[in-house]
Structures are given as C-alpha cells and as structure tokens.
Amino acid sequence: MRRLLRLYPRRWRERYGDEFELVLRATPPGAWAVLDVARGALDAHVRAAARPGPALRAALLVLCAAAVGWLDFHASDDVQPVAAALLVFGFGFGLHRPARAWLYALALFSAVPLSEVWASAAHHAYPGVARQAPLYESIIALIPALLGAYAGAAVRWGAGRATRG
C-alpha cells in the first residue's frame, strides 16, 4: 500500500506525504483503497498540471514577452500581429490568474517599448517605415494587453460564478 504514494506528484508528496502515509497505513487494504488512492493521485496530477509553479509561470511570461518583442522588432507599419499576440497572451495569463491580470498585461506590454529602444540603439530600420515613431506612442500597445488580460479574467470570474450557481 505504501508504494501507492509514489503515484502522487513529487511536490504533493513533499507537502502531504508523511501524514497521508499514516492514514494509508490505517486503511484496510483492498481494491477499494487502491482505487481511491489512484483516483486521488490522478486528481493531484491534473490539478498540478493545471497550475504551473511560479518558476514555470515566470518562464512562460518571459517567453511570451520575448515573442511580442520579436514581432514588434520585425513589424513593418502593420501593428496587427503585435496587437493579436498581446491579446492572446494577455487572455491566457488573465484566465490563469485573474487577480494579477493588470500585472501580466504590464509585463507583456513592456516588451514593446523595450523592443523599440533596442531597435533604436541598433539603428534598426523597420521595413516600409520612413521614420521610427516616438517611443511614447508605444503606450498604445497597453490597450490590447489590458483588453486581453481582463477578457481572460472576466471569463474566469464568469465561470466561477456559474459553478457557484
């Protein structure tokens, strides 16, 4: 029966393993107990997968912001790909953590002015653009980032309210 504990995710075992093992030892062995533990382990894995840890979340955020920056750096005068990326990534992060939607929107948006500062420092010529727009104009990118993040947060809040009935 103790071996069943190995079915659980490592982080879960670190948190609940000791006490869980004591309860497991006191449980009469049998198919019912094995099924109950296997179902609990599956549930713990599903929940762990649905909730990435802070390190993975930060890595994902950096990756998404880098993608926004790359799109902005390689954009011509067409800002739609950058706006679409900000909307989609913002939506995902807002859905994941509605209370921090504003923070994710800001982090994603920051890739745009950073990319433009980089472009200016590197004397990068945007295709089809005669003169680079002033840096302050990049604040407009905050709109799709906030829209996406708060659309995701609204979906999550709406789903929570519907479940509570």
């Binding site: 948190r15 004591l22 309860v23 109950d36 533990v37 609990g40 929940r47």
Partner: protein, 107 residues
C-alpha cells in the same frame, strides 16, 4: 491560490469537502481523526485519496489551515472564511431540505 472561492467552486468535489469542514467545526483534527469522525457522523467511508484531495482543495482556498505541530500527524483547523463558507452552505442545504420535505408531504 484560490482563496475566497468558497465551497460552491469545488463542484463535484464539494461533498467530501463539506464533510471535512463539518468535522473540523468541532475543533482541530488530523487526517485519520477526520476520516473516523466523518464515518461516525455521516456513515461515509472516506478513503485517503478522497480525504487528502478534499484537504488540499480546502487549504488552497484558505478554508482550513494546518496547526503547527511536531507530530507527523499534522492537525488542521477551520479558518474564519471556512466557518463562514460552511455556515452558508449548511443554510442552503437547510433550505433545500425544507423544500424537499414540504414537496414530498404535498405529493
């Protein structure tokens, strides 16, 4: 963290969670004592997988919290939001029970 989402947000996992909350409403208990109490009060035999699934969800929502202990058997207690959530859920169940009884009586 899902603090403040209450019991309703637990969906199909609400029943074991409510049984754990009812058990802890009496005072702090460790896992084995919760399972024994739940069986005594409701007749429901809660396996370790179900029990710790409920404990993890309730702790994540801030409805229960561990009591500092040197023992491997970590006790848990109800938080203030846990007590409020349980009271609200029991009031809802009372309304449903009353409606069901009254409808059965009239059938």
């Amino acid at each position: 963290m899902k603090q403040g989402e209450g019991i309703g947000g637990l969906g199909r996992f609400a029943e074991p969670a409510v049984l754990v909350l009812v058990s802890l409403a009496e005072g702090p208990k460790h896992g084995y004592a919760i399972a024994a109490d739940v069986q005594a009060v409701s007749g429901v035999r809660m396996g370790p997988g179900t029990l710790y699934g409920a404990i993890a969800r309730l702790e994540e929502r801030g409805l229960i919290e561990p009591v500092p202990s040197e023992d491997r058997r970590r006790p848990y207690r109800l938080t203030a939001s846990g007590a409020t959530a349980l009271a609200g859920h029991l009031a809802m169940l009372e309304r449903v029970t009353a409606a069901g009884r009254s409808r059965l009586a009239g059938a």
